[in-house]
Subunit: 132 residues, 2 copies
DNA sequence: TCTTACCTTTACGTTAACGTCAAGGAGAAG
DNA sequence: CTTCTCCTTGACGTTAACGTAAAGGTAAGA
């Protein structure tokens, strides 16, 4: 019997998330092992809440960026870090600065590559028009 | 006896390139296996020319971007593609468009992440000033 | 009650990208 | 000739990030 799926559900099964994000169950379970998501357990079954959904999205974005799961975890964990005391906050800000430096290096690499590819493309188009 | 290292050498040994780029001999040899660099052979020894040096730099930039060696090869090979006939040129332009799409997706992901990290940082700084 | 769909754990298999010996060659210096 | 230094070719080892069976639990519907 159906209980409540009329109101857009605020929890998900592993299969729903897998379908939505285009990954396998195995992948999500692996991420749970790594502590990237922490679904509730009802009996033996996993119940994913909004927090898990958000974190999963962040993880997959990290993967698109080519970070390994270690780096990704460090970034994702920043999103729901507890305030803490001064020393910890300063350390936290250092970490953010480090991640940002990596990201900006990457952005620079991308800009350069895009520029170069544009030049390669220009030459190709030139050769192409010269054929006619 | 020394022969000619006064005039900046236009060729390199595997060790020189390894030192310069901060990778091991093994890595460079592996890249040779994959066809990413194609050093000349003098007897049994490898002699790297400017082309290899450039390609190695491109490969390492690709790695920083988180591409796997397959993707990297596809990008790097574009840099010294021969003109060819029309069909090939059109296919080539398609490939460029595809690589560009990937790179732009990544850039978008980076922008988003940087924006979010800035917000996280702002909140951390706020908490920090409120401590005093 | 039986089937079907979806879930579970356990555990070995796989691929990429090198790391790490092992054993030896080639040439310049002393 | 011996000693270094730097190079060479195998070839097996390692880590990350899952893939892929195997074997079974549970709840809804026919």
């Amino acid at each position: 019997m159906e209980i409540d799926t009329a109101t857009t559900s605020t929890t998900w099964t592993i299969g729903e998330l897998a379908d939505e994000f285009g990954v396998t169950h195995r992948t999500i379970r692996f991420y749970e092992d790594q502590g990237l998501v922490t679904p509730e357990r009802r009996g033996t079954a996993r119940v994913f809440h909004v927090r898990d959904r958000v974190r999963l999205a962040l993880v997959l974005r990290g993967k698109r960026l080519g970070f390994d799961l270690g780096q990704i975890r460090r970034i994702v964990d920043m999103y729901d870090e507890e305030p803490g005391e001064e020393g910890q906050l300063r350390y936290f800000l250092e970490q953010i600065a480090a991640r940002r430096a990596e990201l900006e290096q990457r952005r620079q690499d991308i800009e350069t590559t895009l520029t170069e590819l544009a030049e390669v493309e220009r030459r190709a188009r030139e050769t192409l028009t010269n054929l006619h």
